[in-house]
């Protein structure tokens, strides 16, 4: 395994209780590039991302992140802040009263001071083109605004790797363009789930299709 490898999954099996397996001895290697993940609804894309983040445990197989084998919560814990993970539903991600609070949450957890966190919040908001959003109440935001802020919460951690679950959902054309610019300037490797092939083609070097519990390169 080269030092370039960020994520390595081997023989991952996962099935929700009482249902046929979603992932069936799946293998995947992510190097220093941004790749796409496509597949029909319900094929297990979100499930796969949750396994990578250690949020659910595969029934078989190993997860290796940045060269470290992760099988328990304590292995994932220090790695998660290095991964910018954006959930499919932003409502699941934003839980602080105001946008600024939510953006500051990650940095504060990492031991940043109030001032440092505020600085991060300002930078992220500027990058997202949401300068005036700091004091907005998170539940009052529109679907697209929530999605952008959710991306911001991931960026606030200054991640080494991005994992985005349908980032263009709810976004209008302008916001998608903005998102494309942001991702392009970040130049981070990672994994992007999307049904928006147009967007994927512009952003990623190549894509994988998830079907019948396995990945195939497309």
């Amino acid at each position: 395994m080269s030092s370039e490898t960020l994520i390595k999954l081997s023989g991952i099996v996962y099935g929700y209780p009482g249902r046929p397996v979603v992932l069936d001895s799946l293998d995947f290697i992510l190097g220093q590039e941004l790749v796409g993940l496509i597949g029909p609804n319900g094929c297990g894309k979100t499930t796969l991302l949750e396994i990578i983040m250690g949020l659910i445990k595969p029934q078989a197989g190993t997860v290796e992140i940045m060269g470290r084998v992760c099988s328990e919560e304590k292995h994932f814990r220090p790695l998660r802040p290095q991964i910018g993970f954006v959930f499919q539903d932003a409502n699941d991600q934003l839980f602080c009263p105001t946008v600024a609070d939510d953006l500051a949450f990650g940095p504060l957890n990492m031991g940043a001071s109030r001032q440092e966190a505020d600085e991060v919040v300002r930078t992220v908001l500027t990058n997202l083109g949401l300068e005036d959003f700091g004091s907005r109440i998170t539940y009052d935001l529109s679907g697209g605004e929530k999605k952008l802020v959710a991306l911001g919460t991931a960026l606030a951690l200054n991640p080494k790797l991005l994992i985005l679950d349908e980032p263009t959902n709810f976004l209008d054309e302008k916001a998608v363009t903005r998102l494309e610019e942001i991702i392009r300037t970040l130049k981070l490797p990672g994994l992007v789930v999307s049904h928006d092939l147009n967007f994927l083609n512009k952003m990623v070097s190549h894509s994988f299709r998830l079907e019948n519990g396995r990945l195939t390169e497309v």
């Binding site: 949750e50 802040p81 009263p97 609070d101 951690l157």
Partner: protein
């Protein structure tokens, strides 16, 4: 929230820490009153506080005051009568005797309930719940408790929205509540779904928090300064409190 322009918006600009203290003290103070006159003056005091709380939509606030009346109905249905509060009979309603003591108690309880609610509305309504929580945290309220309230205030509205969306979805498909089994079953489904979704969401939120390095500590943004205005507001509350307490003592002697 901005001032309505007619009255000063002092409470709006008061230090949240002070507000938490005032909220607790004022509510308890009112709750211990035992004379009609003191309770009435207490209610006027709460009204005064409400006026300076800088709430734009006075009527909306006063409407929520009406909600407390549904509780008061029970007081008035039970307490004035001799079977619950025996005493001097002043009126007979068929087999039921209305007692002076009963009516007196009902009046006091009603006034106090209204006064406490109005005071709380004024204090909590003049700053977001988050400011108050930050204030409470600064005053040493345990983190677990404030985090609980923080998430609750954040998600009550989400659950509310979800409820409305589901209810709308039901209505769009021609659902009309009636008094039949179908209605009951539909409501049961709705409630069940809200619970399941709530639980699901809680798990996802926790996952999202873990992803951002959550280790059990919550940070609420707060940088408060005690100002002259705060002294003024505190003084106002203390004066009102003393006035009410004085009236109560005098009333009890007589």
């Amino acid at each position: 929230m901005t001032s309505n322009g007619l009255f000063p918006d002092w409470l709006l600009r008061t230090d949240p820490r002070l507000k938490v203290i005032l909220l607790v003290l004022w509510s308890f103070h009112l709750a211990f009153l035992s004379t009609v006159i003191a309770a009435a003056v207490g209610l006027s005091g709460s009204f005064l506080i409400y006026l300076i709380s800088g709430q734009r939509n006075c009527l909306k606030g006063l409407k929520s005051l009406l909600a407390i009346n549904s509780f008061l109905i029970f007081i008035w249905l039970l307490l004035p009568f001799s079977f619950s509060v025996p005493g001097t009979v002043i009126y007979s309603l068929g087999p039921l005797d209305v007692t002076r003591e009963g009516v007196n108690l009902s009046v006091i309880l009603s006034l106090k309930a209204l006064a406490i609610t109005l005071g709380a509305l004024a204090i909590t309504g003049s700053s977001g719940p988050y400011d108050l929580l930050a204030g409470a945290r600064k005053l040493g309220v345990p983190e677990k408790l404030t985090a609980l309230f923080l998430l609750m205030t954040r998600y009550i509205s989400v659950i509310g929205q979800q409820y409305h969306r589901l209810a709308q979805a039901m209505r769009v498909r021609g659902f009309r509540p009636g008094s039949d089994l179908h209605t009951l079953r539909s409501y049961a489904n709705l409630a069940g779904l809200l619970l399941v979704r709530g639980f699901d969401r809680a798990e996802r939120i926790y996952a999202a928090m873990l992803c951002r390095g959550y280790r059990g500590r919550f940070f609420i943004r707060a940088d408060f300064k005690f100002k002259c205005l705060d002294l003024g507001v505190a003084w106002l509350f203390v004066s009102l409190g003393l006035l009410v307490a004085g009236l109560d003592v005098i009333g009890n002697i007589n």
